[in-house]
């Protein structure tokens, strides 16, 4: 029997070339392979988060996945109202019997691109531009720094956050300016975890002839040859798996907290012909080794969120 799944994007919208788009890709893949239609909605203000979920639930859509931690409170409320409907939320934890909370080990993926950055850098300085200043993004930054240092212990990591509100996800100009100041302080590789703001980061890097690193989706194609790689956060996998589970179990997925990392192949680095020329064999070897080590658990990347500290200043 078919399910009719639904997905609620966050403010960035389905085509943000990043986080939400990755979710969109997953949903698309699912409906292509199974031929099952899905409903989706881009929320426009906070009042609508709950409204959208509720609206879907009432129309009998099930399961419903909410993309982004800002949905947490809404999911909490609505999931309680509709105990027979399955919900999932990405990037946050909602402790209810009918909610699956999906978290990613962004620090692991960031670690890998950190290695690549350090090795690609000639100046020995690499940059990081975060979006909104929240633990999640600090985890990116911290993992990136650890990776970079692991590849070159006296690499310098310069970093900045764009802002402290959701607006920070959507300010390419500011991203560009921050990148330029990183570059002027010597960075020749800049990694962004800043959603729409990142567009400006990669643009500035490309304009200045240095390397950028994309995030979430594979952004290598935005400026072929100028994007070293992208830290993949496979929200698409999460969405795809969630819908598939629901289909197999007939809408009765097992819930609780799911943490996806390298081992699950849910984070990683983008390797395609857009950046093939930029990744030397030596780099590829190094990053693959690290990946295995992390997957097998012999290397543990510190997660900023565990204690709000980072081993690297």
């Amino acid at each position: 029997d078919d399910i009719n799944p639904a997905i609620v994007y966050d403010v960035g919208g389905r085509f943000d070339e990043s986080f939400n788009q990755s979710a969109y890709t997953g949903a698309e893949r699912f409906s292509e392979e199974t031929g099952i239609e899905y409903a989706d909605f881009e929320i426009q203000n906070d009042a609508q988060r709950a409204q959208a979920l509720r609206n879907f639930a009432r129309r009998g859509l099930n399961p419903i996945i909410a993309i982004g931690f800002l949905h947490a409170t809404a999911v909490e409320t609505v999931a309680a109202e509709f105990p027979d409907t399955q919900f999932a939320i990405v990037d946050s934890v909602v402790d209810l019997p009918n909610v699956r909370s999906i978290l990613f080990k962004e620090h692991e993926g960031s670690y890998l691109v950190g290695i690549l950055a350090a090795m690609a850098s000639e100046t020995g300085t690499v940059g990081f531009v975060g979006g909104m200043d929240i633990p999640l993004i600090s985890a990116f930054q911290c993992g990136y720094a650890q990776g970079a240092v692991s590849a070159d212990e006296d690499v310098e990591v310069v970093w900045a956050m764009t802002g402290t509100t959701p607006a920070a996800w959507n300010d390419p100009v500011r991203g560009g300016e921050i990148t330029q100041s990183h570059i002027s302080s010597g960075a020749d590789v800049v990694f962004h975890a800043a959603g729409g703001t990142g567009i400006g980061v990669l643009q500035a890097a490309a304009d200045a002839g240095v390397l950028g690193i994309g995030v979430d989706s594979n952004q290598n194609g935005l400026h072929p040859g100028s994007v070293l790689t992208s830290m993949l956060k496979r929200v698409d996998v999460a969405v795809y798996d969630y819908f598939s589970d629901a289909m197999e179990t007939g809408g009765d997925v097992e819930d609780g907290i799911v943490v996806l990392g390298l081992a699950e192949g849910a984070v990683g680095w983008a390797d395609d012909d857009n950046n093939a020329a930029l990744i030397s064999d030596e780099m590829r070897v190094a990053v693959d080794e690290a990946a295995q080590a992390i997957a097998s658990g012999e290397v543990v990347v510190h997660d900023y969120r565990s204690d709000s500290t980072c081993p690297i200043e």
Binding site: G12, G13, R14, F15, D16, E17, N20, E42, D133, A160, M161, T162, G163, T164, A167, N170, D171, P172, V173, R174, G176, E177, I178, Q180, S181, S184, S185, G196, I199, G200, Q203, D207, L222, H223
Partner: protein, 323 residues
């Protein structure tokens, strides 16, 4: 030396960030000098930014993009003009409407056409205003002091930046040395006097808002095709209002407008640099304070040091002969 270099870079970033403010503020100057208040600078800028990026993306031609930006912005200006001059509507409200319209339509159309949630595709260099490196900038680059100043600060900006700086003296001349300027100032102070002098108040004001539209067009084009390489929904992010502040801050005078815009640009640049930084002694500055500084400063200066900034006397009121 190090700090000098970074200071130069701060100024450099200041120049880049104050440009949209400068264009918009000058735009506002023409409109408000003619007695038409315009808080729709923001919206016109946004619409223009979209037009420039969209047309640029489709045609791959920066000039077509610029043309489209100016066209769209002038159209919105004419809507404002029609509402305020012909229909004698409330100018503030019309401005608010323009802002809503632009915010909605740009994203709506952008989404309908490009399917990127309102974004436009990234522009390649032919569709953008790219930095112009001046004669011998490279060779001078390493000369101490002047080197950085010439290379970073003076050279290496895009065409619009230089146009922007040029627009200031031009505006000054137009407003204070030409017949048009005389009538412009008069119609903003006492339209009845202009009318009885046999000049059409309506025509004067329409001319003013059209010029305002053109300059907002430049501001928008700068945002999406010079400062960045694509349109992002709501990318004007309040710049139109800072420009307005700068205009009032400068008491509706061209040259002071330049200084005001540079000041606010500088603060924005500073905010970016200070974001999350720990300063010696002070410790971490809450970025919100830095971000709010332009507004706080405007308020403080308006209130305290520069006292009353008198807008054009007839500003904000439609010209009505017959009660």
């Amino acid at each position: 030396m190090e700090s000098f270099q970074s200071f130069i870079l701060l100024l450099d970033s200041t120049v880049r960030l104050s440009m949209p403010l400068l264009f918009a503020a000058l735009a506002g100057l023409y409109s408000e000098r003619s007695g038409i208040f315009d808080i729709g600078l923001e919206g016109k800028m946004l619409a223009a930014a979209f037009a420039a990026a969209a047309i640029g993306a489709v045609t791959g031609n920066v000039w077509l993009g610029l043309g489209a930006a100016i066209l769209v912005s002038v159209l919105l200006a004419l809507v404002h003009g029609f509402a305020c001059i012909t229909a004698r509507g409330n100018q503030i409200v019309s401005g608010v409407a323009i802002n809503f319209l632009a915010a909605g339509l740009t994203a709506l159309i952008g989404h309908a056409y490009f399917q990127r949630g309102g974004r436009t595709p990234g522009l390649d260099d032919e569709a953008r205003f790219t930095p112009i490196t001046w004669l011998g900038a490279e060779s001078l680059q390493d000369v101490p002091i002047i080197g950085p100043i010439y290379f970073d600060l003076i050279s290496g900006h895009n065409l619009l930046v230089y146009i922007g700086f040029l627009a200031v003296p031009v505006t000054w001349f137009v407003v204070f040395r030409t017949r048009f300027g005389l009538r412009l100032r008069a119609v903003g102070e006492n339209p009845a006097a202009v009318d009885t002098a046999g000049i059409s108040v309506t025509l004067m004001r329409y001319q003013a808002v059209i010029i305002c539209g053109m300059l907002c067009g430049l501001a928008g084009a700068y945002l999406s095709t010079a400062q960045s390489a694509s349109f992002v929904p709501n990318m004007s992010a309040g710049k139109g209002f800072i420009a307005l502040a700068a205009l009032i801050f400068a008491k509706w005078k061209p040259v002071p407008v330049l200084y005001a815009c540079l000041l606010f640009g500088f603060l924005e640049a500073l905010g970016i640099v200070l974001q999350g930084r720990d300063l010696p002694l002070i410790g971490e500055v809450p970025v919100q304070i830095v971000q709010a500084l332009p507004y706080i400063l405007t308020v403080v200066l308006l209130a305290g040091f520069i006292g009353r900034a008198d807008p054009p006397k007839a500003g904000g009121v439609p010209y009505v002969k017959e009660r």
